[in-house]
């Protein structure tokens, strides 16, 4: 059978064997958790606590500021020691709430909401999900309740669940699907109920046969959901690529998936929603893959939100001698971290520790117009041309050449034999264009 997929894309080494078979284990509570107020797309949350306050695991410590925002909850019982600037995973310093964890606390959390969701109206479920601080766990951390409330005039007919996990190394979603398939299905049920859609599709790259089997085996008979194995190709998990692969629909340039009647949620988000309704606890921990050849014992971990990288690494045997670069997210789109005190936030799918050998500086050559970037670009841009425009700082022309359609997936940079820093140039050009339009 020919598997569904999208056109173009790249085939990086998968490198998932480091953790694909390791069961998820729980990280011991660290001595301190640091919870940034901005762990999502949108306005940062407003703190509800002050230094000196004692907080219990699961307490809401910061409230959402507006609709596109999300609350933050204490991920461990302890005392608020400070609210101030702290290294943030995006490379900046951001206001964060520091909690000194009580060393001998049982860390047993009280359920915060009525676990019985039967009979709740869609609006009430969306409210509960918002209140639980659920955001997209695939990396972008867009507040989930916003995606569950499409405008009335927008007809949505299908829910797409993204279980591709196409970035190399990461096995977070893979292990969640294998170990918590019922929660995934519960989450899907909730989401479908909120959206009022009759049909759900789970797309999974076929390099995860155990996940496909687990989800298929546990699929409730009254849930109109199908599981679809997909070709292993990066970026299969990009929203627009996944919709195209599963539904053959092309999301128009500059538009959202809902314009073609689809809503996409990450499988980890679905799993978390299932967990919220299963346990009654808000989003205070997440599954993270700590991996790469720079860490001694690569593992899949349940991590309290706000745990510092340092604590993750210490719990996994420490770094190897040749560890050189620490990346949040996958190695293709992830953000390198300079500081071991940076906390894991809701949107961090994995921590990849690269070694000296992985990070060898690559010599750059002039573009030889091989055209490989055009063959790789999943949105059919001409990165060669765009790169030349961005390098010459001709940003307006780059914008006219559809720079906005570039999702910074990095395929062009991955294939470029001359190592022209194409994604970096595009990021720069996008930032500069945004700055200009903000100034205007």
């Amino acid at each position: 059978m020919k598997l569904a997929t999208f056109r173009h894309g790249v085939h990086p080494p998968e490198l998932k064997e480091l953790t694909a078979r390791s069961p998820i284990r729980r990280l011991p509570f660290p001595a301190e958790v640091v919870l940034p107020l901005r762990q999502h797309t949108g306005n940062p949350a407003r703190p509800l606590v002050r230094p000196g306050d004692r907080v219990e695991r699961g307490d809401k410590i910061a409230e959402a500021d507006g609709w596109v925002s999300s609350p933050v909850h204490a991920s461990a019982t302890g005392t608020v020691t400070a609210i101030g600037l702290w290294p943030h995973p995006d490379g900046t310093y951001e206001p964060a709430i520091r909690i000194a964890v009580e060393p001998f606390s049982a860390q047993a959390a009280r359920p915060r909401m009525v676990p019985d969701w039967h009979g709740l109206a869609p609006k009430q479920i969306v409210e509960a999900i918002r209140d639980a601080g659920v955001v997209g766990l695939g990396g972008a951390a867009f507040p989930t309740h916003v995606k569950l409330s499409p405008p009335d005039e927008q007809k949505v007919d299908v829910l797409v669940i993204n279980g591709c996990e196409c970035e190399p190394y990461l096995t977070t979603d893979h292990r969640s699907m294998v170990e918590y398939p019922e929660r995934v299905h519960l989450g899907i049920r909730m989401i479908m109920h909120c959206l009022g859609v009759a049909r759900g599709m789970i797309g999974i790259e076929r390099n995860k046969p155990d996940a496909i089997a687990a989800l298929s085996a546990t699929l409730p008979s009254d849930l109109a959901v199908t599981v679809h194995p997909l070709t292993v190709k990066y970026p299969q998990g990009a929203e627009k690529m996944l919709i195209h692969a599963l539904l053959g629909r092309e999301v128009p340039s500059g538009k959202l998936p809902m314009h073609v009647g689809a809503v996409v949620h990450n499988v980890a988000s679905a799993q978390t929603i299932g967990e919220v309704f299963d346990t009654g606890l808000p989003l205070i921990e997440r599954i993270v893959t700590l991996t790469g050849h720079g860490v001694r014992r690569p593992s899949n971990l349940i991590v309290p939100v706000g745990t510092k990288i340092r604590d993750l690494i210490d719990a996994c045997g420490g770094l190897t001698e040749d560890a050189r670069e620490i990346v949040f997210g996958g190695p293709i789109m992830g953000v390198a971290q300079p500081d071991l005190d940076t906390p894991v936030v809701k949107g961090v799918t994995g921590v990849v520790v690269l070694t000296e050998a992985d990070c060898k500086p690559l010599a750059s050559y002039p573009c030889i117009k091989c055209g490989h970037c055009l063959d790789a670009c999943p949105v059919f841009l001409n990165p060669q041309r765009l790169g030349a425009l961005a390098l010459a700082e001709r940003y307006d022309e780059a914008a006219a050449n559809h720079l906005a359609d570039c999702m910074l997936c990095g395929c062009c940079g991955y294939v470029c034999p001359s190592n022209v820093p194409l994604p970096q140039l595009f990021k720069l050009a996008k930032t500069e264009l945004k700055r200009r339009s903000a100034a205007a």
Partner: protein
């Protein structure tokens, strides 16, 4: 944990193993069997000519190019390819001048690697053909002792070459054009006919090209469209007038078509970046090759066909921009 500071670079943190030097040196490697075949057919003279043109190319790159560019391998390709388009009996100094011209005026004057409009090796050959028409069209016949020179390879610069002892003859295309005499196809495929060094072993060139295509170091659409166009066009002509026009197999395997289609037209720098553009580029070359061979004043037209299409590449690129995902049209201002 006391450690040196961690590296912080922008994404992506993973890159494919391909590199420009690796592509270039792989192409050089794929040219090696053709060089060996050339020395098999034309003896030591073949080696001397190729070495001289390579020396001219590399020497120029080293003297006039920006530092360190010798290592990227592209000048080596130019030098060897140029050598393969020359006759075995050519004085070495001419081959050297050709190599120097190819790099100097074919590449460096445009700004070096990646910037040139025309295939440097072909530009070098076009220059030699204009400057030294007679030596460039004196074709030794393959065979004879390996150590026997096929011409006055050691002639001093600017001196007229001593008369040849070696047997020379017209190329199959020359025979066809001027004497309406066809050559059997099998010797053409194998390479035991008169012609320039690398023109002769058609099947070997195809095999080397196939290897590069599998490695994705060569866009197969270009040779495929060139060869299919030449075959279709010449088959049509052949059907109209079997006596006047040669058949497609003869057209495909004679002259520089194989070397040109597989190794010259596919030069990444001077061919289109879009897939559709590559088809158009190849079809254009194919048509021009047949037109020049059949109706032009020259027996061979591959060189001019490719150079002409090289000039059109920017326009082809502009006209074949891909349609952006989620839009109906390609960007207007590409």
């Amino acid at each position: 944990m006391t450690r040196p500071p961690f590296l912080v670079t922008a994404a992506p943190h993973l890159s494919s193993a391909d590199s420009t030097p690796r592509i270039m040196w792989t192409v050089v490697g794929a040219l090696a069997p053709i060089v060996v075949a050339a020395t098999w057919f034309f003896g030591v003279s073949a080696l001397l000519v190729i070495l001289a043109s390579a020396a001219g190319a590399l020497g120029t790159e080293r003297t006039l190019g920006r530092g360190g560019t010798l290592r990227d391998g592209s000048a080596t390709i130019t030098g060897v390819l140029l050598g393969l388009t020359l006759p075995a009996g050519l004085p070495m100094w001419m081959a050297f001048v050709g190599g120097a011209f190819a790099i100097g005026f074919g590449k460096l004057i445009f700004g070096g690697l990646g910037q040139n409009v025309f295939n440097p090796a072909l530009l070098g050959r076009a220059f030699l053909q204009a400057a030294f028409p007679t030596p460039l069209t004196t074709w030794p016949v393959p065979g004879g002792s390996w150590w026997a020179l096929r011409g006055d390879n050691f002639a001093l610069p600017l001196m007229s070459a001593r008369p040849l002892d070696a047997v020379t003859g017209a190329t199959p295309l020359g025979l066809m054009k001027f004497e309406h005499q066809a050559t059997d196809v099998v010797p053409l495929m194998v390479g035991s006919t008169g012609g320039s060094l690398g023109e002769t072993a058609g099947l070997l060139i195809l095999a080397c090209g196939a290897y590069l295509a599998v490695r994705n170091y060569l866009n197969w659409r270009i040779p495929a469209s060139i060869l299919l166009t030449v075959a279709a066009f010449s088959e049509g002509l052949h059907l109209l007038g079997p006596a006047r026009f040669a058949g497609p197999l003869f057209m495909l395997f004679s002259g520089g078509l194989m070397l040109g289609a597989v190794f010259m037209a596919t030069d990444m720098v001077t061919s289109p970046v879009t897939q559709r553009g590559c088809w158009i580029f190849g079809i254009g070359i194919g048509i021009l090759v047949v037109v020049i061979r059949v109706w032009g004043g020259l027996p061979e037209g591959v060189m001019y066909a490719i150079l002409l299409m090289n000039a059109l590449v920017p326009f082809i690129n502009r006209a074949t921009q891909p349609r952006v995902f989620g839009t109906r049209t390609a960007p207007a201002s590409a």
